[in-house]
Amino acid sequence: MQVRQWLRKPWLWAFLLLVALLFSVLVGSVSVPITEIFDKSTITYNIVWQLRLPRGLNAMLVGSCLALSGLLIQNMVKNPLADPYLLGVSGGAATCQLLVIMLGLSLSAEALFLVGFVGSLLATLWVLKLSYHGRLDASKVTLNGVVMAFGFAAVISFMLSLADGQQIRSMMFWLMGDLSFADPSWLMALLLFISYALLRRQHTALDLLARGELFARKSGVNAERLNLMVFILTALLTSMAVAQAGTIGFVGLIIPHIVRLLVGYQHRHLLPVTLIAGALFLLIADTLARTVLSPIQLPVGIFTAIIGVPVFLYLSRRM
């Protein structure tokens, strides 16, 4: 009980995140002494401020987005196996972005971000439209989302089998998720912050919604409006993450579960801790991905699973 009270304090998590960020900019193929971080005369200054810090911030933003949207979608479709990619979001983004890569259009990173974002948003809206008959049917969303994901996977495999060797390399890396691809975007940080603020205001209503839509409605929650908001925010958060870094698996699935085990079921605690824990988790995974076999960089998706699985199994036995 005492431990749980501590784990509910967001500043504790923020502190851990800060320590992890400091650690992540110091380690890598070149290790940087802590005294040289602010020394502009050294070469390591550039490594820290222009390579590692942006990448770390990127990991944090993407991790937060994925964890938060995972929390929302598991709550909404009442399915513990749901993850942010359920709504066909990733498939839509991947298909559009790969199409652009394959057609040989050389777009800037921002333009590619936009292509992925639009693609995933369209896919999500499509799934939602298919599942909407007067009101949104959660079980239909799950089923339609899974079916759509298979459809997109087929299209992606088809494109991969047509692509030449050079293209395949960049496409594969993108499909497995890659945080070095783009610089952290301020727009993304702003949208993440706005989404979080909107959700934070509705934390009690989200608790009630978690106990069932009828329960929420009879207790005075405008469930239709809340569901709509949650769906739009899920689509937005996931689309941003995918467009920014490809499909990094496991964060959106496992972090909400781990956080629930740590802080309980009230969104008053779940929302802030999930936000920070998602950032912390992906930052650690990415730091490991680029240091374990350095200078070789491994796909970050490997480490999200390698860390996430044992942590979850340990906690689910203990708590």
Partner: protein, 233 residues
Amino acid sequence: MLKAKNIQVYQNRRLVLTDLSLTIKTGEFWGIVGKNGVGKSTLLQTLAGLLPLERGTIAVEGYDLQTLDSISRARKIAYLMQEQEASLAFTVEQAVEMGRYPWLESPHNQQAITDEILSLCRIDDLRNRSILHLSGGERRKVEIATCLAQQADYLLLDEPFNHLDVVYKKFILQRFKALSQSQAVVMVCHDLETVANHCSHVLLLLGKECYLAGDSATILSPGNLERLFNDSD
């Protein structure tokens, strides 16, 4: 006054009640009686404003339920579901607190009211237990407490005594009776004896187009009960 006028009630697109009018006033304790599948629960949900209405109107204190915003509606009408899905591991205290949702913006002392309801419903000792780890009867007590925490003027209860032991049933029945002095209580109940002895009014649903409403002595006459037991359709 909760007033339904010429309402048509559907259950999953199946027409169950064609044309029903009913007026429920403060100070009344209604029992709704009828066979399985006759539409009691659907009617209760409709009266609670939770189902769309295709024909007829329902008004609470003169406000149309279909257009009333959800917070104001929940301040007026509390509804107890027949079965509440057991979902996440909230504690009993957190669950009862959820009944306070419509009043969160009000200056009430929420914690004090939650505490009061917990002891009123005699579930103080369950306070920190997870609702997932309760027995069926204990869970029912928590659901009733959540409903009472809403402090609405109209209580619509769907088979409130499910899973409850006889002692608690007797106790909570007295609570409902006491509440019906200042509020209105409507309950779906299969126990005719309880309804006959304690309810002031009865709605007897006999079929799609056939219902009787009025004070309990009149409605539960031997002749009417015979119709209930003999109707084959």
